[in-house]
Symmetry: D2
Subunit: 446 residues, 4 copies
């Protein structure tokens, strides 16, 4: 089931895939660079016996892009084996790591996940869950985390609740996943989200919930809804595809245009385009066909494939576009280069006018909590006006959804979401160099 | 460009990929099991130098599924090296092979392509093109073939014109491909189709056309339009997506139903559903979301992945389907097991009624010309009535497009198409055991 | 047992290793570049089921050094599967191949073994053994050949008997191998040699012997005794180590010297040095220690390792050599460069005088029958006198055994052995370009 | 040069091979399972740039047999990168590791070498050499250790001097190796041994020597001389081959026999047999031929190959053995099973009498300092008398060298050598469970 679930979550990371299974104290791990179907053969799966399992698909936000950093991390410390799969990004990981190393710890990877485990290994608490919670108490940033230790599975979500984490049930067993589409695939029933700041422990006695952390403001990543999550998932209590349709409707209301056909940039623009077409009454048609044998542009860790061109992924359908005025609906503009190429594709195929509409505000800030956006100076909207971007992508008109419009469509207030990529205002204080976090451990040491 | 074109044609075969390049007499080949991106690394491509190249993606219709049968085939005979990429299936290959073997030929592969080359090696003609044409004269069935010999590229299409083969031009050079979407990707301009029964030779003097074969009835495979080809291709003079929309419109006319939403089975049912929705006025919505990290169901050579479930490929969107009466549009029903699972998925997601509509007639016969349909006894429509199939897939109603309706939407007469999969009537006489084909070679031998 | 036997015969070739097994009509093959222990894992062996097996270790004398040329060759022709392992070199293979290719045969490898099989495939004889014999009738040169066809194992040795081939018996089953050391390893009993010009067929009826070829002069390769074969083998009716000791004794008689210690160049000079020491009464000591983790110098197909130095293979023992006059015993001088380096090693370790003694005459001609000697212009003795060679290798004196002395120690007449490498006189006429060999096949063809 | 030296030292370990190179702070590592020629390709070597290098060949005495435990170990701690290659076995490694882990250290391997590095990472000393020395101060047992840190190479040998470690010079640069045969190969000059208890640091200022450890009794492993080291090495101030000849001479004096020929078990029995033959006047002959394409019996980590039989490694030469009374000379009897098989091989080849002579006393205790002897209960001499062993191996007579005879031939007193494998008396106190070693670190911690 861990293996099948990873298939459903493959869109969240294609760089590496891994699974750890456990039976009592015996832990098995297989992980490697590549997608789930590349990393896991039938033979490998057959050898991954166990009563409990966690899996992970990764794309590199923190730590180098190499097989050493593939997750889940499996380590052995004095309390026994522990495996951790981690979604999110810890903003003070480097600081804590420095402190641990200067106190004699030796790290195996460059990923911030290992920092949590070293901190836990140093914690004075006898019980491994207490030690893990103590370690998390010192970490800042985003984490939706799943761990297994002998006899227990532990799920934890940071007090801000940046990344999703949901609980399901199948055949009387508990399952935890980043998105509910994984539950659908394995026939599990969605029960509830892990709450922000909640630690859930599953053992022979069932599911136990703890709230060990101080309260903090809610900061759900709305880019999950706009782009990252699968449209068939339920996220932070809402259907992703329904939110996207509302974004498209709102986009039409705010930024209408006089066109013959509404064309989505597949796949991420599809539901917003649907909403846009429905609201406007303009016909919807698939004027760009996607070649599904190629991976997703945005999250490839190297530059190489991307330069290769948008052409390899999208092919314009001349019969649909020729002579038409089109509204081209996409979810975001990052560097602008891809949008520019898509507009050109449409023009080459005979489109008379191309009006670009984006279902969220301009992206002006990088993400520090787990989405692999480029550095700020690569974000076209951080230095260019909407008008300038419109000229750069060579659109007849360009319109973004406003922040207010987005919040309205989202049916959320600004204080409930992390909107840092559109506002560049962080919901969390970023750490400064001085840090006294480990002092408390020092005191209690033998 | 050969490499890029293979990406565009990947939907035509995922079992193996290969390229042969040539500079003068020096030929290089790289081929392996897997898709284009698995088989060709940057390093491999760098080593494939040459002035001319042919590539191939394969799924097994004839010959075993192993790396030995990967195409293009590259052989050395007494006239020098020759490489061939072949699309289609030769119905008398086994007979000819037997005859050649009993005369002392030793084969390296089990693919029928090698038969053509052995026959050409035996032909008495001094010129390699003449020898190849002579060999093809003895072959029966479907071939769209591309070959390179020192200084020449040769394209040939059988007299019936079963499979597509198109000519394009880019930067003053000629390119030939199975589908025009390959031209779009590499920025080539579509010039014309290779005509059925035509042999085209490209050399330093330009493009030369020959018609060396006896005339035969036209028999374009219409299943290419219904399912196999990419929607953005021009095929046999028509836009694939436009044909599919017309099939959907006709389907509504012939088999209407009272529903709330039209839902395509992605991806192949998408354009027919669009036509169906437009004609009916019923809203179109994407109630089934496809997981694009999984390959295409139909053409996987092994049974294993398919059993694994429709779930891994399709996820129903509860918010769209719950409480609704839906028209579920697909391109064909083969065994019925997949359709049954999809209907069940929709019901599990809350669909109140599921009306299945198929954009072609029932599939009752296997394909002998290059499409990998299962054996006849596995085709549900070869033994069951439409009503029985409807019960099997558990639909509230089931409707197929009629043959007449299909031809009308296709704007073709029955004599112009191969419709063997829907009528089980072969456009070509199948060979009998006795064969005197090689006698002519015998006579002319030294 | 095939696998174990290959271990015992590894000294005869380290470039590639292969085994073919058969059960009825089902043949299995595994072969690859590298030594037996590299190519065959337990898993590979487990899959090589069968009632009968042949194996091969190869170093490249004919055909390129690549995995395609690894033996045994396994082909399928109209009479069924046939596998062949071949030791030796066919002097007219290229001529016959040209003729076959111009008649339409297509070759898979560049090895001369495939030529035999194509010729056999063309032969008009109904029975595969007859066809194989007919093919061999047209081949010239050296072959000790082992083949399997459904239900039969066939061993054949050319009429000159260049290369060894012996028959053994173990647990009531027949085994055939190039050297008897393979029998010792698997506990088989040596029965007799396959005679020159003999074809032996083993089937359910037992072992049958034929003599289908015209008589020819005997030409056993004596370099097998001098260097190539393992000292514990029985070869052409003689113990290899015993012959080598006699060569050493004779060498002392012909070319004595006044020294303190007799030092062999290990491993090939060991037994000759023993004979030399015994005859002379001078103490024998191992003044050069061999590093057994490195392969054998002479038969590596590339130049690279060799240049790397004699040092990596041989280390002088200073305590044994310092201040001493030594007789350094080796089996041959090929280019002279290795001997020169060994002499220098001994001098660097303090040897006062180094007298080089070689247990055969100077090597002046390349081998055309299966030993991988370099081209004639690389053989130092083909252009330099013994005195000049002595100066080149920097010996205080240099002595070769005379041809007469060698024959006397061998207890053979010159007409019984192939001595081409020492006399440059071929025991077989080399083929000229014109050839009418296949005419007979032509006549009898259907 | 590191690569070449590993070839010369390959007999010391065939399980894994590795090299670490450094240029300033940049360290590169390549290591893998297998022998040097398997692990290091030209391409790998080309990428291992650097000014300084250390290498290692390993067979498993401590830590599991897997690639994770391949050496050199390369780690990054707060003082920067450090690489260590370690020969020997630390008797208190497990105890120290437990203590470190319970204080929060997380280990990557199961090898005891990593323990030293974690201990050094915890040491309060600012300088990495001081920290390393401090760590070694807490370790008990055998270590000949070579480390590199940015700008420095460090060699250390434990105060007992169990394992060898020698210093050489080539082209003005210092080299350190386990055996002098490595110097011979790369043309380096032997300068002196690293003394027991000495730490040598090489930096831009040259070679500096320290003696930071408390004095301890000398305990050179004499089994290195008897079996493990290469005969062409200088070890603990003596020529290995000369010591072995003296052991053979003494063996004849103590345990003479009336035989026709002295036959060594190659390769390790060769020099002892030479001494035995010289002292006795009985002829020496190579009645057992070794197949050099197989690895060395004794130090393979798995049981599999060994059971496969002595036959694959040794072949008796019937002509030498048949009808003879032979003295069979070997270096040791471990389980007895191999000797039994060799005696049987000789008898099968016709030997009339087989008198086994062993050039050291019976092996009764396992080694705790780095030689991979089996557990005590697998050592035949730990439970059986010489007479019983003689019957088990089926010898006509069996004689071991006495401890006194061995010491006399060694020209050493018992207090200078480690003779634990023959006496079961440890030269070092083995650690008990309680340990206060880390207390001192605790005190000085921030």
């Amino acid at each position: 089931m861990a293996y099948l679930s990873l298939y459903a979550l493959q869109h969240r990371g294609q760089e590496s895939s891994g699974i750890v299974t456990a039976t009592g104290n015996e832990f098995r791990r297989h992980a490697g660079m590549g997608q789930v179907d590349e990393v896991f053969t039938r033979r490998v799966l057959d050898q991954l016996e166990g009563d409990v399992a966690i899996g992970h698909v990764r794309y590199s936000t923190s730590g180098d892009s190499n097989s050493n950093n593939a997750q889940p991390v499996l380590l052995h410390h004095h309390r026994g084996p522990i495996a951790v799969a981690h979604n999110g990004n810890l903003v003070n990981a480097a600081l804590v790591r420095d402190e641990l190393e200067s106190d004699g710890s030796i790290f195996q990877t460059t990923s911030d996940t290992e920092t949590i485990l070293h901190l836990a290994a140093r914690a004075p608490h006898a019980d491994v869950v207490d030690a893990l919670v103590e370690a998390l108490r010192h970490m800042r940033g985003a984490y939706s985390l799943l761990a297994i230790t002998p006899g227990r599975m532990i799920a934890a979500r940071d007090p801000h609740g940046f990344r999703p984490l949901s609980i399901g049930k199948v055949d009387g067993s508990w399952v935890v996943a980043s998105e509910t589409c994984a539950f659908d695939l394995i026939g599990a029933e969605f029960v509830r989200d892990v709450e922000r700041g909640e630690v859930v422990v599953v053992d022979v006695g069932g599911l136990h919930s703890f709230k060990p952390f101080e309260a903090a403001r809610r900061a759900s990543c709305f880019f999950e809804h706009v782009y990252f999550a699968r449209p068939d998932s339920q996220l932070f209590g809402e259907s992703v595809q329904a939110v996207r349709k509302r974004l498209g409707q709102k986009l039409w209301e705010e930024r209408p245009c006089d066109v013959d056909v509404v064309v989505p940039v597949p796949d991420s623009g599809v539901f917003a385009a649907h909403g846009f077409a429905t609201a406007s009454g303009v016909p919807y048609d698939m004027g760009l066909v996607r070649n599904h044998y190629i991976g997703r542009t945005f999250i490839e860790p190297t530059q190489q494939i991307r330069n290769f061109g948008v052409r390899i992924k999208l092919n314009p359908v001349r019969e649909i576009l020729a002579g038409k005025r089109i509204a081209l609906i996409d979810d975001s503009i990052v560097r602008g280069t891809t949008s520019r190429k898509i507009v050109q594709l449409c023009r080459d195929a005979g489109a008379r006018e191309v009006h670009v509409r984006i279902s969220c505000p301009p992206t002006i800030g990088p993400c520090r909590y787990g989405i692999d956006t480029p550095d700020q100076d690569e974000l076209i909207a951080s230095t260019q006006s909407v008008e300038e971007i419109g000229r750069f992508v060579n659109a007849d008109s360009l319109g973004f959804l406003s922040l207010e419009g987005m919040l309205e469509a989202a049916r959320r207030t600004r204080d409930e979401l992390c909107t840092a990529c559109w506002t560049n205002q962080q919901p969390v204080d970023l750490p400064r160099a001085e840090s006294a976090q480990l002092r408390l451990f020092e005191k209690s040491r033998r």
